[in-house]
């Protein structure tokens, strides 16, 4: 094989890897948007107090009405919304090939994943009740974690 053919193949490989990353980070951004919508809705009902009625779901009432639903008076859902927005921002910048964005995206998702495990533990073993909005958010975070693991490490970089 000639040198130029080898170079071309490497170039093509790098380009397809970059394309795959762009696709994966775009998918991650869409997942983040779904999580952001869910967490924003939960934040709003935490502030309006609609939690009490909570669309008539007992599990939702028990989980969102529990003392674990707020940290220092701030609804956990609001922290979740900030987390999803941060992850979305890094996913977008990573899709545009920004140098450090993938690392920050992975770090944010890892933190959210740890928080998700904690909240799943609380629902299963402490509160013995599940909130479907919280489970939806947990599913999104699991998917994001899966994408972080599946995304190939970046090679081409811009500023």
């Amino acid at each position: 094989m000639s040198k130029s053919a080898k170079k071309n193949r490497e170039k093509n490989g790098a380009a397809s890897g970059s394309r795959a990353r762009v696709i994966l980070y775009s998918i991650a951004a869409v997942f983040c948007l779904a999580g952001l919508a869910d967490a924003t809705y939960l934040s709003v009902i935490a502030f309006t107090g609609e939690t009490a009625a909570c669309s008539g779901q007992a599990g939702c009432f028990e989980v969102l009405g529990s003392s674990y639903a707020r940290v220092a008076g701030v609804p956990v859902a609001l922290l979740g919304a900030l987390g999803y927005f941060t992850a979305f921002t890094f996913a977008i910048f990573a899709a545009f090939n920004y140098k450090r964005a993938p690392k920050f995206f992975a770090l944010t998702v890892c933190l959210m994943f740890a928080a998700t495990l904690w909240f799943l533990y609380l629902q299963a073993f402490v509160l013995h009740a599940y909130c479907r909005y919280c489970l939806f958010s947990a599913a999104i975070t699991f998917l994001l974690m899966g994408l972080v693991v599946a995304t190939p490490s970046p090679r081409t970089r811009t500023e």
């Binding site: 924003t40 939690t51 007992a58 028990e62 969102l64 009405g65």
Partner: protein, 216 residues
């Protein structure tokens, strides 16, 4: 242009999220329920000592799952604050629950035979069972049978205009006090904020009311 595109996307999402959140907050913000002007009511469902330091008044709906959770909490709190807590129940069947009014009638019919609270507890305990049933009103005589009530009288009372009027009166009273959701709780005639209408919130409000009343 491509250089600025990620910034534009992030800014647009931030604006849309904040805008949607604010719009949703405005549309869902509940009015603050107001205190009762006169609590004298001969048909009142009361549990606990009349001289209790704290009176907790609940507007509830038998088909509402959070109310079912709250009924368990209230039983626990009554044991904890024995002699200090009095509980009043009022009907507020929500339109979104198709069988809530029939269940309220069943509780009132049981009241005619002196077993309101027994039926109240049974309806909440078996809520998951009857609320998803097909011919729901036909299930209530079965509950009356479990409580040892006179079934003929129970069925007659359930269909009576007097009982319908009793439930409607509670509902109208709730509406006049700006109750919109269930459970809505008043502690010593002060509405509990919706954000505190949950087991820890109710406990904290009872503690605060006891401290307030115990002040010299």
């Amino acid at each position: 242009m491509k250089r600025y595109l990620p910034f534009l996307i992030v800014a647009a999402v931030a604006l849309i999220t904040v805008g949607t959140g604010v719009a949703l907050y405005r549309s869902q913000k509940l009015p603050t329920p107001t205190a009762a002007k006169d609590s004298a009511d001969p048909g009142l469902h009361v549990r606990g000592d009349a001289k209790a330091l704290v009176t907790l008044e609940e507007f509830g709906d038998f088909e509402c799952p959070p109310c079912s959770v709250m009924s368990v909490t209230l039983h626990q709190l009554e044991k904890e604050y024995h002699g200090k807590l009095r509980v009043i129940f009022r009907h507020f069947p929500l339109a979104m629950h198709p069988h809530a009014r029939a269940a309220a009638h069943a509780a009132e019919a049981a009241h005619q035979q002196g077993k309101f609270w027994e039926m109240h507890d049974l309806l909440y305990q078996k809520q998951a069972q009857w609320s998803k049933g097909v011919d729901v009103p036909s299930l209530f005589p079965g509950f009356a049978g479990e409580l040892g009530l006179d079934l003929e009288r129970f069925k007659k009372d359930m269909a009576s205009a007097e009982i319908a009027a009793r439930v409607t009166a509670d509902h109208e009273l709730g509406k006049s006090r700006l109750v919109t959701s269930t459970p809505t709780i008043f502690i010593n005639n002060v509405a509990l904020p919706p954000t505190s209408t949950n087991p820890p919130g109710v406990r904290a409000a009872i503690e605060a009311a006891i401290k307030e009343k115990s002040k010299p």
